[in-house]
């Protein structure tokens, strides 16, 4: 089995997209890790659904943790000068009103057209929407950070999602442990590929036909 990129590397690639001054909302899992990799010299303002803006990275020192500084992924974070608190109605006014620039979420499935499915595994019979649906519908740029396949090697990037969707045609960029793929009008554009992997090998675990970028690059750190 060839090595794939680890979760930190996926997060690092995602964080390259954070421009100076960007308001960014990170979902749980791999997306949260991106807060550790803000490119040097840029200020990124993190938004959390539960009413917090402008906070710092996750606080791992138990002596410094505060339950009053919890993010929407239930992690305790560091305070930062200029941060502020607000209620849920205000928080989602920011989201729906287009005041969040970039959202990073995980996914169960993504389609060729950028449909996202991440709230419901049908066999489970009950779902978890949380803030993902508002974010997926209303954010200016949606990045998916995920493993390219399921733990058993099953496909996650489909022509059409088989699970109930979170939002249609909402995904802009997919960053996986094998590739960086942009969702375009013409289809999925393979822009970067993990070291040691071929286009054919990535295509084999991706249902829709990938368009290979003319300047396809190997992913570098």
């Amino acid at each position: 089995m060839k090595p794939k990129l680890d979760r930190e590397t996926i997060a690092l690639i995602v964080a390259r997209e954070f421009f100076d001054g960007a308001v960014v909302n990170l979902g749980g899992g791999i997306p949260t890790l991106a807060s550790n990799f803000i490119p040097e010299g840029r200020t990124v303002i993190f938004h959390s659904e539960n009413g917090m803006l402008g906070f710092g990275p996750v606080e791992y020192d138990e002596n410094k943790q505060s339950v009053y500084l919890m993010n929407a992924s239930a992690q305790l974070v560091q305070p930062r000068l200029g941060m502020c608190f607000f209620d849920h109605a205000m928080s989602f006014a920011m989201i729906r009103g287009g005041h969040v620039d970039i959202t990073v979420l995980g996914a169960l499935q993504v389609s060729e057209k950028g449909d996202l499915a991440n709230w419901m595994i049908p066999e489970r019979g009950i779902g978890v929407i949380g803030g993902a649906m508002d974010l997926a519908f209303c954010c200016k740029k949606l990045i998916i950070a995920m493993e390219h396949t399921t733990p058993k090697g099953g496909i996650k990037i489909y022509r059409k999602c088989t699970y109930p969707i979170t939002a249609p045609e909402c995904v802009d960029l997919i960053v996986t442990d094998l590739a960086v793929i942009e969702v375009t009008k013409d289809g999925l554009l393979l822009k970067e590929i993990a070291p040691g992997w071929t286009v054919e090998e990535v295509q084999a675990v991706t249902e829709p036909k990938l368009i290979v970028a003319e300047d396809l690059k190997e992913i570098t750190l």
Binding site: G51, F85, D87, H88, A89, M133, A167, P168
Partner: protein, 242 residues
Amino acid sequence: MSVNKVYESFDEAVADIPDGAVILLGGFGGIAPVPQNLTLALHRKGAKDLTIVSNNAGVDGRIGLGNIGGKPYADHEILVSSGQVKKFIGSVPGSIVVSRPNALEELYRQGKVELEIVPQGTLAERIRAAGAGIGAFYTPTGVSTEVAKDKEIKTINGKEMILEYALKGDYALIRAHKADTMGNLVYKGVMRTFNAVMATAADVVIAEVDEIVELGELDPEVIVTPGIFVDRIVETSKGEIQ
């Protein structure tokens, strides 16, 4: 002053909540924003057939009366697991840890509890609308998904939107940091969440607070929830969970 909002016990504060009441239950998960002692009092009171409106159905599996990080903790999962809940309305009904199902999802699969799943922003806005006297509103969130099923769709400024109705409670149980005796509330950190929204949207609003202070001690410039929204206040020190 004739208005007395200060209650000496949590049991007394929830004593009139009847069977079948619609309860807006504040918080978001985590420890800070959850009205833990009010929730326990409602459990002791034993009101049944409740409709619970809350972001989630108990934060993480079977910790209805467990502990987080060594600290005692209670949330409304105890209302669900004790069979007091007829219907749950919220955005995170299932456990966020798939391998540790919560009480609600097990009862839901057995057909013993009704469920209405609502995107988090729509939930907040439906409650806000109720508090603000708005009957319904259009939101883009959920178009072409299961959430839009049987709902009116309208194209506004070229964008499809769903009609969502206001959601009002009979009672709201909320958490805040400090109250003055008029019921003015301030919060701490991420404590506001749904609490400050729900404070506006129920017939009877009951707030659990860290401290009740005399009039004048809270700066009028920083009051988050004006006291007219709040009917009853109880200090956390009167409860079993500090």
